[in-house]
Symmetry: C2
Subunit: 204 residues, 2 copies
């Protein structure tokens, strides 16, 4: 009869889930540099080293959060492409806006998902890779389709084109969330220019 959220005082119930959720909340509130395992433990109401029974180290916890993020991102993106009544260029525009919107709405999460903290030293968990790699591949598939449908130039290598177009979205996202584009009031226009440059079909 024990539910996963039940607490006994000593045993927490479902500490792993609590840790990820609370950590994600703390991440959103105060940024990654303020997220420490010890503060997290206090907030969850558990001792400093309890998290180590559920995560090998801090990196593994961060990977779990990022994994969460990829699942959110994937479901959001798939929804964009379920709008069958829209033209492909319109869908691409929505995709671009959605991508940048996701990044600016969840800057710290985006940083974790696509930032050096996890990827640079090849620190990604296996289970994170299983979620992240397909979503990288997904962008190449999309690009190939847009090329076939004539939305993007056909003469360019799909992989390279995908790298460049994704690079653009990533770059704009990063410049926004890292505080280099201090002014966040022209995001839509930037998206539109991006679409115009890559598709030449919505804006003149």
């Amino acid at each position: 009869m024990k539910t996963s959220t039940q607490k006994t005082g000593y045993h927490h119930g479902d500490l792993r889930k609590s840790l990820v959720e609370t950590a994600q909340a703390m991440l959103k509130e105060d940024g990654i540099e303020c997220l420490s395992l010890r503060k997290l433990a206090v907030r969850v109401g558990v001792s400093r080293t309890a998290p180590y029974h559920h995560f090998k180290d801090k990196n593994a916890l961060l990977c779990a959060i990022a994994q969460n993020g990829f699942e959110q991102w994937t479901s959001m993106t798939k929804e964009t492409f379920s709008q069958q009544h829209k033209t492909l260029p319109e869908q691409y525009r929505d995709f671009v806006r959605g991508y940048i919107g996701f990044a600016t709405t969840n800057p710290e999460l985006y940083d974790l998902m696509f930032g050096r903290t996890i990827w640079k030293q090849n620190a990604a968990t296996e289970s994170l890779k299983e979620v992240a790699y397909p979503s990288f591949q997904y962008q190449v598939q999309l690009t190939r389709r847009w090329q076939q449908e004539g939305v993007m130039p056909k003469n360019l290598d799909s992989l390279r084109l995908a790298q460049v177009t994704w690079g653009t979205l990533h770059g704009i996202a990063r410049l926004l969330i890292d505080g280099i584009y201090a002014d966040n009031s022209h995001i839509e226009e930037m998206c539109d220019v991006t679409v115009a440059m890559f598709t030449r079909s919505l804006v003149s």
Copy 2:
């Protein structure tokens, strides 16, 4: 008769310069997460808190390194545009390659110059801003010129276009140096596709 590199035993000579140079070397060798003030002090041969007489805090030291980086970057870029015998599209291609080359050759420095560590909490030193802002502006000027010369589309707002094109370079650079594009063997091709997308004049 005292030169700036002279040492007396107690007084160092030119500690500030030594700190920046050694820190930049350590940054390049082991990455930013391994760069601590204490290790730096040991390597320079000085006590832990000596750096505080030359830099308000660690952030100020990082800003000084970044400032160095901007000066390097600016002089490198200006050189690209001094190649008068080349056509404008060729110059743009060289600029793109130079930009990505700078980032991949000095990944940690690039991260410091254009990353969240400094910019996100508005932690940039005044003297860093004096160097960095003009080099941001410089990219807008370049874009405007390329539009006037017909290399880039004239109908788009220069600022937005500059944001997108720079965003592309920044995004590709970040994906490379953050370890998300694990394969570094097709950088030139990515640059060429970028040029093709934005200028449509070198590659078909």
